[in-house]
């Protein structure tokens, strides 16, 4: 291993080494190339598929996946992961929907949903930050709890009925001027805020520091527990936002609406170049990762039956992750 690396350094950088450095230092470039190739493949396989309308539909769905993947990106930077987001997002959408016919309307429901999500995130954050429970297991347990409560809430609100608020439907489904998805009005500010947070603020730096070396971070005066508590609250609120958008997009409210996106959200962050062991990555890569996965899933759903779709999807995730690992191990 070390010998091989040494040799690679001594020689003039070969073509593959150059590719690897590119992948390591500027993951956005190869990712964007991959995305363009993918879009070209779609167009070649099914001429006429790629259009302004197709792009709008893709971006609309990808924006939601990208917000969910933001939860994974942020937590993975600290060496954690958030497995509760599928249930939290579904719960947020469902709770909001049940308040449609209630006094106070869905806006009150929205407040309740966001508060409940933040509370779930707070408990996760306390468990992970203060009690140092492994994030995987903490968010897993929190997911079960949220799912259980959502089911109870579902039974309680059978009489009142639920409905997707028209405003959220417009936000989730609508296209402005037929090409610009309305949910970008939510996604773009969120994305800009997250990228600025990670690159320009002390809090963002602390996320990387904790993931890179928790002991060094602590010795440098980072109060890890405060950072982590805030992080998991943030993650839960982001999940809730994604859940509301997904409910608007699919025009259904259910307690399992967003759960199928849990694994793709992890995959989007990994494909986007964020390391699951922490300390390396960023949100811009995740956004491209979410776009790649959405284009891929849409394309596969046209050309392949469901079983093969899953098989190809899984294989591609392994391949891309393997390429990253090679690139980062070689340096």
């Amino acid at each position: 291993m070390t010998a091989a690396t040494g040799m690679a350094r001594d020689r003039a950088p070969s073509r593959s080494a150059a590719w690897r450095n590119l992948l390591r230092d500027y993951p956005l470039i190869p990712l964007t190339i991959l995305l363009v190739l993918l879009v070209l493949t779609v167009e070649l396989a099914r001429p006429g598929t790629v259009s302004a309308n197709w792009a709008a539909f893709t971006v609309r769905q990808a924006a939601i996946l990208a917000i969910l993947a933001a939860c994974q990106t942020l937590t993975m930077l600290t060496g954690g992961i958030d497995l509760s987001i599928g249930y939290i997002a579904s719960m947020a959408g469902f709770v909001t929907a049940t308040f449609v016919h209630q006094p106070g309307g869905w806006v009150f429901g929205l407040v309740v949903a966001l508060t409940a999500s933040a509370l779930a995130g707070l408990v996760s954050g306390i468990g992970i930050g203060i009690f140092r429970v492994h994030p995987l297991i903490m968010t897993l347990g929190m997911g079960l709890i949220v799912f259980g409560f959502s089911n109870v809430w579902q039974l309680q609100s059978v009489q009142t009925g639920a409905g997707v608020p028209p405003e959220l439907r417009t936000l989730g489904t609508g296209l402005t001027a037929d090409v610009i998805p309305n949910d970008l009005a939510v996604f773009v500010p969120v994305a800009v805020a997250l990228i600025l947070m990670l690159r320009r603020t002390g809090y963002g730096r602390m996320l990387y520091a904790i993931g890179d070396n928790p002991v060094a971070a602590r010795l440098s005066g980072v109060r890890s527990w405060q950072v982590l508590v805030v992080l998991y609250v943030l993650s839960a609120v982001l999940a809730a936002i994604a859940g509301l958008l997904q409910m608007g997009l699919s025009n259904t409210a259910s307690v399992t609406l967003v759960t199928p996106y849990l694994l793709p959200s992890v995959a989007a962050a990994v494909i986007g170049g964020t390391s699951i062991v922490g300390g390396r990555g960023g949100y811009s890569g995740t956004i491209v990762g979410a776009l790649i996965l959405t284009v891929l899933a849409g394309f596969l759903s046209i050309v392949l039956p469901e079983p093969w779709r899953q098989i190809v999807f899984g294989s591609i995730v392994v391949l891309v992750a393997a390429a990253y690992t090679r690139a980062t191990a070689a340096g």
Partner: protein, 336 residues
Amino acid sequence: MSAATTRMDQPRQRPADMIRAFGRDNTWTLGLLGFLAILLAFTKFVNPNYSLGSLSSTATSVLPLALAAVAQAIVVISGGIDLSISAQMALTSCVAATMMKDHPGDGTAVAIVIGVILLGMLLGAINGALVVLTKVPDIVVTLATSFVFAGVALLVRPAPGGSAAQWLKDLVVGPAGIDLLPKAAVVLVVIVAVVWIPVSRSRLGISLYAIGSNPLAAFRSGVPVSRTKFISYVLTGLVGAFAGLSLTASTGIGSPVPEATYVLISIGAVVLGGVSLAGGIGGVFGPLVAVVVLQLIRDDMTFMRVNPNYGLVAQGFILIGVLMAGSFIQIRRSRA
């Protein structure tokens, strides 16, 4: 690790010391067993009809999950994690149910069972080879292969169906002779005794713990880290195949849709059973007790006519509550 070596270094211990040492090494599991005893008493209290006969139905329903937890425990002890366990179970279960429907007969069923066990080992080998060769984190590899395995399961059986040989069904349902002894529990004990106990007592078992607790130290001590890691996944696939077969045996069919809860609860039970997610610590007995505890809590909720969804909430709270308490004690102890 340390427990295993001390016991090997001093083969002739006095019985009292051995008991004390056992208690010290297994504090967590013993505590969990105590909790289980209280829970059983509570079950009898809330549901006076709960008898020894009910034990066997509990055992039958808990068997697939218990085997999933054993499978998960093996890979977690070795420092990995397997998110594809439920997809492995779905695939092996579908293959078993489909083959048994197409080729009925008790004799062929035996051949099918052996084939499915080999298939499980192959699935584990795929996971292990990918983890070792690509060096991608276990969680990402098994996440991706879970899609692949579930896809293949859908190819095998587009819809739930198939059938199971009668002897296979008889193997897990009902009591074995006396009420106190559910057949499913016997099956479980036999599988654990045949697969895990010989492994854990051998050099391989020590290697598994070694690579889980510190791969670098294990490597420098001459443990073949990659090969051991690969074998840990093969073992997980092997037990995962038993879990899939037990699904077919208890339901009589194969369903291509993986139960996501098997992954979640198996990891939860492993950690609740005293296995460290960081690897190298724990055994398979604790996770087994934890699975029964988690199942009994849900059953009790049903008996008490509580909305069963609160059972999920209770499972979640017990999971994180116990772990928070456990790590709180650990943090305080390390400060003292």
